[in-house]
């Protein structure tokens, strides 16, 4: 009996130990030299960032890259930043186009390696105010190259009434669009609720939608709870929102310009705008995995995607401001950079780039703010 008991305890301890180990890998340093391509590269990207002609035969900046470098591109579309973090943690992918709410988590978790920008010639042409920012660097070391930036837009059906411009139409129960509203299905959307509160409940004192103390956070959740009754769709897969916009079952929602463009091409009568109270947005960074199996191809891809030609193509297709200053001359629409405010600091002053909320308030306050894991839990409960 003692024999059995002891072995059982040992076995249990063994299982526990096995289950506990396998924690974070420490990130290695960046590469010193660029070698030959490994023949393939596995990417995690936002929809529309890695186009090889299968969405639209004219939209392709991948095939040329593959022919030139011999690196076969395999892309996995991440629908939310959370998905991207999870995919990168598995160690199966070489590079990721991460938004600000994923980058710091990846850096802290050791899932991405510092990027040696000397190996990326096109990095020199990137807008200076995107380099070495809070979300893409650590202690002055660059952890990625900027891809581009944009704001989350408000898409609306032009035949449903006068053009909206306020975020209140997304939240108030007397909204003319009630019952046909589409909301992004990710915990980061809580920040949009915070922006709504910044405008409608200024005495809550929210200064940064990602720095919410418990009281402000609870108010945001309450706003989202009451929003539930007027929402008809929580979208993560961009084609879901596209299909609903085309079918007319969604007439108002938070969206990306690429979705608006695709739906319009299929005949949807829609338009997009930035809400006057401010909006959430993103500034994306291409990062390289610390466990990359094809590091050389990954570096080559980074250099390619921020090259003037490719960066112009993707910025136009997706509907965002490019990161390469030389891309503005190369866009098919000569006004693209103006439309997307590529050089305009004013425009971005009320765009809150996606960033990871931490317990240490991002606006510098001394109180304790709600960390991202609580955002996830709250969102889960909201959606259940």
């Amino acid at each position: 009996m003692k024999f059995v008991k002891r072995n059982l305890t040992l076995a249990c301890a063994g299982v526990l130990a096995l289950a506990a180990c396998g924690g974070g890998d420490s990130g290695s340093g960046s590469m010193d030299k660029l070698g030959d391509g490994e023949g393939a590269v596995n990417l995690v990207a936002w929809a529309g960032y890695v186009e090889d002609g299968s969405t639209d035969p004219a939209v392709d900046w991948v095939t040329g890259f593959e022919a030139e470098t011999g690196c076969q591109v395999n892309v996995k579309i991440g629908n939310t930043s959370d998905e991207m973090v999870e995919l990168m943690q598995s160690g199966e992918y070489d590079a990721v186009s991460a938004s600000g709410d994923a980058t710091l988590r990846l850096i802290a978790g050791g899932d991405v390696a510092p990027v040696n920008t000397d190996l990326i010639p096109n990095y020199a042409d990137v807008f200076d105010d995107l380099k070495n920012k809070l979300w893409n660097s650590k202690d002055g070391v660059a952890y990625g190259v900027p891809h581009g930036r944009g704001a989350n837009v408000l898409v609306y059906n032009t035949e449903a009434g006068a053009a909206p411009d306020s975020i209140t139409d997304m939240f108030e129960s007397d909204s003319p669009y009630a019952g046909k509203i589409s909301v992004y299905d990710s915990p980061i959307y809580i920040a949009d609720a915070a922006i709504y509160l910044m405008a409608t409940q200024p005495d809550l004192g929210i200064t940064n939608p990602y720095a919410l103390d418990q009281k402000q956070f609870d108010a945001a959740i309450a706003a989202l709870e009451s929003q539930k009754s007027i929402v008809s769709q929580y979208w993560a897969l961009y084609t879901d929102q596209q299909a609903s916009l085309e079918a007319g079952s969604v007439t108002l929602g938070t969206s990306w310009q690429v979705i608006v463009n695709l739906a319009t091409a299929n005949g949807a009568k829609i338009a997009a705008t930035k809400t006057k109270e401010g909006a959430t947005g993103w500034s994306d960074t291409w990062m390289i995995s610390s466990k990359a199996k094809h590091p050389n191809c990954a570096y080559m891809w980074l250099n390619h995607i921020i090259s003037p030609q490719a960066n112009a193509a993707v910025a136009e297709w997706f509907g965002e401001a490019p990161s390469n200053s030389k891309s503005c001359e190369l866009t098919a629409d000569k006004n693209h950079c103006t439309t997307y405010h590529a050089g305009e600091t004013d425009y971005w002053s009320d765009v809150w780039y996606w960033t990871t909320p931490t317990a240490e308030c991002l606006d510098g306050r001394e109180v304790e703010c709600v960390p991202y894991t609580e955002w996830v839990n709250a969102w889960n409960k909201l959606r259940a």
Partner: protein, 266 residues
């Protein structure tokens, strides 16, 4: 048993109504494969055969088809061997833990696919093993074993033990008995199980999603991913129709093989 004419008619109507309902969505898919636009709304806007004439060019579909077939063949082979072994063991012998093992043998299909998928992924990631072809095979084989086992054990139960005894009485050793008596009686259920295992593996998407790595894509994954790519979406309807048509004789065969052997022997 006396069934009134009216009840008979009602039952027949009910059966055919169910059949109509079962096939309506499939017919819709077939019709939509000739749709002129690249969306799945109804009614179809215009008639076009361009998806049919060009679908062989879609490289991702071809590769996904090949991946799925390879995967299903391998999973089928492994599970036929292991599943039959399990059936014979459970049917022929009494041993400690037999009931528990029978119970365990049902779990892979009784537990939702997401549980299996998440559990296997967790194991592979923890032990630092790569997620790729092997991990998917591991996942698929698990539930395929159960499918084969169900088929074979059901048949084994129906074979009278007298037959084996008679064979032994007549001087055959156990290998000869297996080769000449048991196998002919059992083999059609093994084939039926194999076909079902192949079909299950070919169509599976949940466990595959969680256990597949980068760069490997089965046909169901291709379908799921290509609902995100409007220009490839119509090819999904074409591929679906083809799979349905090819499946008809295979389904027939599987059903034939599942029928118990001639009752006189049992």
């Amino acid at each position: 048993m006396q069934i009134t004419r009216r009840s008979q008619l009602a039952l027949r109507v009910a059966t055919y109504a169910v059949l109509v309902f079962l096939y309506l969505p499939l017919v819709l898919i077939f019709i939509l494969s000739f749709n002129n636009t690249n969306s799945l709304t109804w009614p179809p806007q215009g008639f076009s055969t361009r998806w049919w004439s060009t679908f062989l060019d879609v490289e991702s579909a071809r590769e996904a088809l090949i991946s799925s077939t390879r995967l299903a063949l391998i999973a089928m082979t492994i599970s036929v061997v292991l599943g039959s072994m399990l059936s014979f063991a459970l049917q022929r012998f009494e041993f400690f833990g037999k009931n528990s093992l029978s119970f365990l043998a049902v779990l892979p299909i009784a537990l939702p696919g997401i549980v299996t998928g998440v559990a296997l992924r967790n194991t592979f990631v923890r032990f630092g093993l790569d997620l790729g072809f092997v991990s998917v095979i591991a996942g698929h084989t698990t539930f395929c074993i159960v499918v084969v086992h169900n088929n074979v054990v059901a048949r084994l139960r129906r074979i009278s033990p007298n037959l084996r005894e008679a064979s032994a009485d007549l001087g055959a050793n156990s290998l000869q008995t297996f080769r000449l008596i048991t196998w002919p009686l059992v083999r059609s259920s093994v084939f039926a199980g194999a076909i079902l295992a192949f079909a299950l593996s070919f169509d599976e998407v949940v466990v595959t999603t969680f256990t597949a790595g980068a760069g490997f894509q089965t046909l169901p994954q291709w379908i799921l991913n290509n609902f995100s790519r409007p220009n490839v979406l119509p090819y999904v309807t074409v591929v679906a129709t083809i799979v349905m048509v090819i499946s008809l004789p295979i389904a027939w065969l599987a059903q034939r093989l599942s029928d118990p052997p001639n009752d006189k022997l049992v």
